[in-house]
């Protein structure tokens, strides 16, 4: 299956290679560099590149290209999904997945990759199991290790590997037993010029942080489970019970994990928390343009909108922007042509406004199109779909856990066309 893996940074330096079968020369990456050059933007590199003898399947994450070499037929999603899993594991282990951290922890990275694939076929990808096999680096442990010479490699087979619940390790013990759930909803929307919704849907996830001793069996139920249109679960969730009773019953992995993700489709009415009035125009003559954006609250269910940021990808000919904002700060980067207006909290009494002129490259024709606005926002303590967790029950253990649920609404891919 997966033959080799190369990690390449944004500048085109190959800084790590790992082979699971016989060694493949790194010259195979030349094909990748070629495609990379052609694509201009890193996003546009085709995920699958065909070379005379191999296929290169790559993903781009955190400014690193994970390029895997394949020789025979394999479902491309299989590889892509695995590579993302690798990136997530790194993130889990080192806090972030960047070139520096990978270089600093190259031995652990190597050990991880060795465990995750055997002969190119995924072996252990559950982070709970991996952490038992190879302990994540902490400052304390590395100190101890240097002094005592002990290792951070587990000696016994992780028990989870063999049980029916490979995601949970055995013998978990906490003094404070707690379980927290974050319901995070993102609104994906496209609004057109006049402010009408072209398309809107809600993508939600429930992230959990469960620190419970023993083998707790949890049941999470919702006030209004019918809202959920399409769901996908962590493997620990018992699908049958969801089918029949619409409750989420599971034995949780230890620590942080994503319990489920769901989707509330465009068919249901999606509340759009803000409206945007905008007017961006470019003059036929004089190489200039005008910009006027006002943001106001629409359906916020009585909560405040925070962390409001408006991003505009300006056309190439816009040289600079001379604007004034009634609230927040703006910044125009003439290289990337991105105008970023960080508003912060939205005050319904005094609507934030950004107004001023844009200067264009002289002599260039007026841009055809108006740029679209990308909105970012956050509303605490609100799930915009109205989803509510009803209760969390625990079976199988005697103690009383501390439970908590938090709701957050964010803007996902929220775009206003102009």
């Amino acid at each position: 299956m997966i033959h080799s893996l190369f990690l390449i940074n944004n500048a085109g330096d190959l800084f790590l290679e790992k082979h699971w079968k016989s060694v493949i020369s790194r010259s195979v990456c030349d094909y990748f560099f070629e495609a990379r050059e052609k694509a201009v933007e890193p996003d546009n590199v085709p995920p699958v590149i065909r070379t005379p003898h191999h296929y290169l399947i790559n993903i781009y994450r955190e400014k690193i290209f994970f390029v895997s070499v394949i020789q025979t037929e394999v479902p491309p999603l299989f590889v892509i999904e695995f590579l993302h899993r690798v990136a997530e594991t790194f993130q889990d282990y080192f806090g972030e997945c960047s070139e520096t951290t990978i270089k600093d922890n190259v031995v652990i990275v190597y050990e991880l990759l060795e465990e995750m694939l055997d002969n190119g076929f995924p072996l252990a990808t559950e982070s709970n199991i991996l952490k038992e096999l190879i302990r994540p680096p902490t400052i304390l442990r590395s100190m101890v290790n240097t002094i005592t010479g002990s290792s951070n490699v587990g000696e016994t087979l992780p028990t989870g590997q063999l049980s029916n619940i490979p995601w949970r390790r055995a013998g978990v013990k906490y003094t404070n037993n707690e379980a927290y759930f974050d319901v995070v909803e993102e609104i994906d929307a496209i609004l057109d010029k006049s402010g009408t919704t072209v398309f809107a849907e809600i993508q939600g996830v429930i992230d959990a942080c469960v620190k419970l001793s023993g083998m707790p069996d949890l049941t999470l139920s919702f006030m209004n489970p019918r809202l959920l249109d399409d769901v996908s679960f962590h493997p620990c969730v018992r699908y049958k019970r969801w089918e029949s009773e619409r409750v989420i019953s599971f034995i949780p992995p230890d620590g942080n994990f994503q319990l489920m993700s769901y989707h509330i489709s465009a068919q249901n009415l999606v509340a759009i928390p803000i409206y945007v009035k905008q007017n961006i125009s470019f003059f036929e003559t004089g190489s200039s343009g005008r910009l006027d954006i006002t943001v106001g609250p629409k359906q916020t269910m009585g909560k405040t909108v925070e962390c409001l940021v408006v991003t505009v990808h300006m056309p190439k000919v816009v040289l600079s922007a001379n604007l004034s904002a009634t609230q927040g700060t703006y910044n125009y980067d003439p290289v990337t042509k991105i105008l970023l207006w960080d508003i912060g909290k939205l005050n319904p009494q005094k609507l934030p406004n950004l107004k001023g002129s844009l200067s264009l490259q002289s002599g260039a024709p007026k841009p055809e199109e108006n740029p679209s606005l990308n909105i970012d926002l956050k509303i605490q303590q609100l799930a915009i779909s109205g989803l509510k967790v009803n209760r969390l029950d625990m079976y199988g253990e005697k103690y009383k856990p501390f439970k908590g649920v938090k709701y957050v609404t964010k803007a996902g891919k929220f775009q206003v066309r102009t």
Partner: protein, 1097 residues
């Protein structure tokens, strides 16, 4: 440092070496020093040495041999982790000499106690195979052995080994098929992908195509179904007659099992698993069920862009074959300006594939936005997409063409060029009407520089030179002047143009042509020189010119078929979806073709018989005590198999399996141990109860049947025994259950830590079915088809399950998984229901009644098909008060029977996406001869798609559909004349202005002489209101000449409130011009058609 005594120093050294390897530096010099440390006690040092070894052993084979003995020792270590890792490294060092050692190690590990080691053995198989393919036969033996393993841990890995070593040995799968299906949900996610892909291929070879015409299958299935039914009792006979009428396609229960067990995996968080299930459903499921995958695939669109890329590729292929599936999710494919270009283009592809008459206007509107994007590649693709929509959907062709012509004046050259190319293709379809567009394009040639576009224009002019006789020579003149500076592709077209003109209009162009040909003669490009030479010989008459000369005209001016704009994804579905080959549209190495469905199903019993043998093996492993009895039972079974009666039915069983009672036996018994591992303790208890209750319920019937069967069955002794033991079997069962529990406990491994609650649901369901099938099995055939007393909860379809006598042998371990025998009658029943029912969908005919008062009634249900219930409906044109976005539909029920009709209500509306219906309150009783009128509201979403629903009475259900004429989709809007003009202008100035206005000339019918009649006709056709006029004469705009009366009508569409403006300008002599302005193009076009018809009558 490596020679140091301290582990910490060694570790440090190894870390540095590994870092070197990671950076790709050569560390092979250190091999001897490193290899010494293979026996090091420190586990981390050891691991790093392993890493090193695996990397360099191939290069230094001799030295690598030094380490072998360490691994051999490791293979015997009591710690399973060490055993496994020793095997892993041993099999990973690619040294040919040790092949025999590896083979031995793998064989040993394959029967290791620890499933983890067995898993490693499975991983080692492909390694050894690639090292030495000659070991294949031995390896297959090991695979066969491991396939029989029943732990989820091993399943994925061994199937992967199977796929790599011997993917064609499908026969190895037979006996493990059901086990794999049942274990699937518990296998780790990567294994799931591999297993699902393999099972897809397997199912393609073993089952019949569920979508094949039902009649084709009829004989085989019928025969099998009734092969042994000599003595059904009465109600069964009734059942049978209806069955015969329906001619069912009966899905093999194993096929159903696969579909059922994979469905929950659509909910997986792993995109690869979801995709694997999606392709399985796409390739294997009956049409009606494929739809469920759409939702899951759309969910994946939220994932990383690489995932999106792959998913969209597959969706694009699916949309070509099954467009309806994704239509409800149309909006999920809308494009954001932040998407990477490759994603945008794929989404565009999907949108284009999804376009149909109903949604084309929304899609085109989206495309209009895309055209203004900054991303030029994407704009070009959008223009092509518009072109494709135009060719596929005739109704919008003209509007699209108009829009594209507008784009010709765009400032961006690329946009213009792309439009030209697309327009060229469109014009080829109907050149006659568009000579002005051709003229316009001829003018453009001065400005456009993009070679492809220039070439297209020249080709167009040449092809249709008779439509533009004056311009063509002029263009040629200009081109001749600039010939030398043109691109090759343009030059070729200039030559073509010259040749065509020479043939049609030689007087004017003779010299020009010769000039061009002379220029071409000395061109640098040999293609152009060749072409010039060829054409000169062909068209210029010389004394030597051959016969071809005469035909030159025919050659050049032959009618060319219009090009078909096709999706590049058209033929991709012959590759298995989700595969690398599909993505690349080329066969990748190691791709296994997806076989076609077989003509007739192979013998399904292959999946059972051997399972018994499997059972034995498994029982040894899990030490189920009564296994000796099992084998004796198996002997018996084999004996029975030989009985003539049985073999009959087996021979013919075909796809049904219903007749094939034997088939169930295997899995029934196999499941005893092969059941959901870990869960079996609780499960057996569960099933015990189930069996009991089942027995009680069926006791009576079965007792009856049993008597009869006893005569038939040759296994008389057993049957007798069973009849007697009937009563006690429950108790025995219980005993058995307990035993099983005990076994489970004693069975070492961790499997026993079961989560009982999880397996509960499953086992409940399963055991229910099992106990039935199980009993058949032992009873020995004579299946009697009848409705099961309990409908399986979840399956909505009817299942005919066979029942026969219970003959529970006390030594039989608890049954677990056995397939149901679902006989999918749903579709056939539907058909029969529909037979007598004429769908009233031919009501689109325009109305020709007076506007006021009389409103045309449409028939919803004829009195004969409705068995006395007649239903008519009309559009009352009243606003529907509960919801202003709905069209009010008045329905009148008339009961023509002699008895009451009760509980009239609407059920199960099947609507296009976005459409809604508000039902009327149920009518309790409709007395004979009475009639009653109700009003329902339907939101048609401004489309003329029919709203389908079921009309239910207390006895029957009727499928009916309400299809609105376009004129009923609007409500009158009151505008003054000035407003009207303003709105009209607004609409005209919108994007792609050509698309919003439709002009049509007509001749008024004889009766349409006065104002009154015209107004009446228009308002009858469409629910519009007349705009008060009178200021006509003051109006300053030129188009309506002041003398001719102008009638204006205004309305709004009901759902979205788009303005609909209609203008009728009459001229002297009965001529008139009709203008319709509406943002919704489809509505506009249809409205024009309707009004035209109304007025010209």
């Amino acid at each position: 440092m490596l020679d140091s005594n301290k582990d910490s120093l060694k570790l440090e050294a190894m870390k540095r070496i590994v870092a070197m390897i990671a950076r790709g530096k050569n560390a092979s010099d250190l091999f001897p020093a490193v290899v010494k440390n293979v026996a090091c006690k420190n586990i981390e040092v050891k691991k790093l040495v392993y890493v090193y070894l695996v990397r360099y052993a191939e290069e230094q084979q001799d030295l690598a041999l030094l380490s072998i003995s360490t691994f051999q020792r490791g293979l015997k270590d009591p710690n399973q982790l060490i055993r496994a890792s020793a095997l892993r490294v041993l099999s990973s060092i690619r040294v040919t000499i040790i092949v025999p050692i590896m083979m031995l190690a793998i064989k040993e590990a394959a029967s290791d106690m620890s499933p983890y080691v067995r898993k490693t053995a499975a991983h080692a198989i492909p390694k050894l195979h690639s090292l030495d393919p000659e070991q294949k036969d031995q390896l297959i033996e090991v695979i066969e052995k491991l396939l029989a393993d029943k732990t989820t841990l091993v399943a994925g890995s061994v199937v992967m080994a199977f796929e790599e070593v011997c993917p064609d040995r499908i026969d190895l799968i037979h006996k493990n098929y059901r086990k794999l299906c049942n274990l699937l949900i518990d296998v780790e996610e990567w294994g799931q992908v591999v297993i699902i892909n393999m099972l897809t291929r397997y199912a393609r070879t073993q089952f019949l195509n569920p979508n094949v015409n039902e009649s084709l299958l009829e004989e085989s299935s019928d025969k099998a179904f009734y092969a042994s039914d000599d003595e059904e009792d009465e109600d069964e006979k009734a059942e049978v007659t209806t069955l015969e009428k329906r001619k069912p396609y009966v899905m093999d229960p194993d096929h159903r099992l696969l579909l059922r067990n994979t469905k929950p995996l659509l909910q997986s968080r792993n995109a690869a698993v979801v995709m694997a299930v999606a392709q399985l459903y796409f390739h294997l499921a009956p049409k009606a069920e494929v739809g469920i995958i759409a939702k899951a695939l759309v969910r994946l669109m939220r994932s990383h862009s690489e995932v999106q890329y792959v998913v969209l590729q597959n969706v694009a292929t699916m949309t070509i074959k099954r467009r309806g599936m994704f239509e409800p999710y149309l909006k999920s494919f809308y494009i954001r300006s932040t998407d990477p270009t490759q994603i945008k283009i794929l989404k565009l592809e999907v949108l284009t594939n999804l376009a149909n008459e109903a949604n084309i206007s929304t899609i085109l509107r989206e495309f209009q936005t895309y055209i203004k994007s900054m991303d030029k590649d994407f704009v070009a693709a959008s223009i092509q997409a518009i072109g494709r929509c135009a060719t596929n959907i005739g109704e919008v062709r003209d509007t699209c063409l108009n829009g594209l012509v507008q784009l010709l004046s765009n400032r961006d050259e690329l946009v213009v060029a792309e439009s030209v190319v697309v327009i060229k293709k469109l014009l080829q379809m109907q050149p006659e009407q568009h000579s002005d567009i051709i003229k316009h394009m001829a003018k453009l040639i001065d400005n456009i520089q993009v070679p492809m576009a220039r070439a297209s224009i020249l080709w167009l002019i040449g092809e249709y030179c008779e439509h533009v006789p004056k311009i063509a020579p002029d263009v040629l003149r200009k081109m001749a002047k600039s010939f030398t500076n043109e691109e090759d592709i343009v030059k070729l077209q200039i030559i073509n143009l010259a040749a065509k003109l020479y043939l049609t209009n030689s007087k004017q162009t003779k010299l020009l042509t010769q000039y061009v040909l002379n220029l071409a003669k000395y061109d640098q490009n040999y293609d152009i020189r060749d072409r010039a030479r060829f054409i000169r010989q062909l068209i210029v008459p010389t004394d030597k010119s051959g016969a071809l000369n005469k035909y030159a005209k025919k050659l050049f001016l032959a009618l060319k078929p219009a090009p078909v704009l096709e999706s590049p994804f058209k033929d991709r579905d012959h590759f298995q979806l989700g595969s690398l080959s599909h993505l690349l549209n080329a066969k990748a190495a190691g791709y296994q073709e997806l076989p076609d469905w077989p003509e007739s199903a192979p013998d399904p019993s292959v999946r059972n018989v051997e399972v018994i043998r499997l059972l034995e093996r498994v029982t040894t492993l899990t030490s189920i005590p009564d296994w000796s009895k099992c084998s004796s039972r198996k002997d018996r079974k084999e004996k029975k198999v030989e009985k003539p009666f049985y073999s009959d039915s087996e021979g013919e069983s075909g796809p049904t399996e219903s007749a094939d009672s034997e088939s169930d036996s295997g899995s029934g018994s196999a499941s005893a141990s092969g059941s959901d591992e870990g869960g079996s303790g609780s499960e057996s208890e569960e099933s015990r109860e189930e069996t009991e209750s089942e027995e009680e319920e069926e006791d009576e019937e079965e007792e009856k049947k049993k008597r009869k069967k006893l005569d038939m069955t040759k296994a008389k002794k057993q049957a007798d025994e069973s009849a007697e033991s009937e009563q006690s079997s429950g108790a025995e069962n219980r005993k058995r259950g307990r035993k099983a529990v005990k076994n489970q406990k004693s069975a070492s491994e961790s499997e026993s830590e079961s989560e009982s609650s999880e397996s509960e649901d499953e086992s409940e369901e399963e055991s229910e079915e099992e106990s039935e099938s199980d009993t058949d099995v032992r009873k020995k055939k004579m299946p009697v088809s009848k409705q099961p007393p309990k409908q399986s909860k979840k399956e909505s379809k009817k299942e005919t399950q066979e029942m026969s006598l219970l003959d529970l042998d006390d030594f039989e371990p608890a049954p677990a998984s056995a397939p149901v025998t679902p006989v999918n009658f749903l579709s056939s029943r539907l058909v029969s229901d529909l037979e007598g029912l004429s769908l009233t969908d031919t009501i689109l005919a325009p109305t020709t009644i007076a506007p006021s008062g009389l409103i045309k009634m449409y028939e919803l249900l004829h009195r004969i098909t409705g068995e006395g219930l007649a239903v008519e409906y009309c559009f009352s044109r009243q606003p529907f008060s509960p919801d202003p976005n709905m069209v009010a539909v008045q329905i009148q029920f008339t009961n023509n029977t002699n008895s009451e009709t009760k509980n009239l209500h609407i059920e199960d509306p099947r609507l296009q996406s976005g459409m809604r219906i508000r039902e009327f309150a149920e009518i309790d009783v409709l007395a004979a001869g009475e009639s009653v009128t109700v009003v329902i509201g339907i939101d048609f979403c401004d489309s003329t798609q029919a709203a389908n629903f079921q009309l239910c009475t207390h006895t029957r259900k009727f499928f009916v559909s309400v299809q609105p004429p376009v004129g009923e989709l609007m409500t009158p809007a009151f505008l003054t004349e000035n407003d009207f003009k303003k709105e009209q202008e607004n609409l005209l100035n919108g994007k792609l202005m050509g698309m919003n206005e439709i002009l049509e000339k007509l001749t008024l019918g004889e009766k349409c002489v006065n104002e009154h009649v015209i107004v009446e006709r228009v308002t009858a056709t469409a629910n519009l209101s007349r705009v008060p006029c009178g200021s006509d004469k003051e109006c300053s705009t030129p188009p309506p000449p002041p003398s001719a009366p102008v009638y204006r009508f205004a309305g709004k569409t009901v759902s979205s409130g788009c303005l609909v403006l209609v203008t009728v300008t009459t001229k002297e002599g009965g001529g008139a011009q009709l203008t319709v302005n509406c943002e919704k193009m489809v509505i506009g076009t249809m409205l024009v058609k309707d009004i035209l018809q109304a007025l010209s009558q």
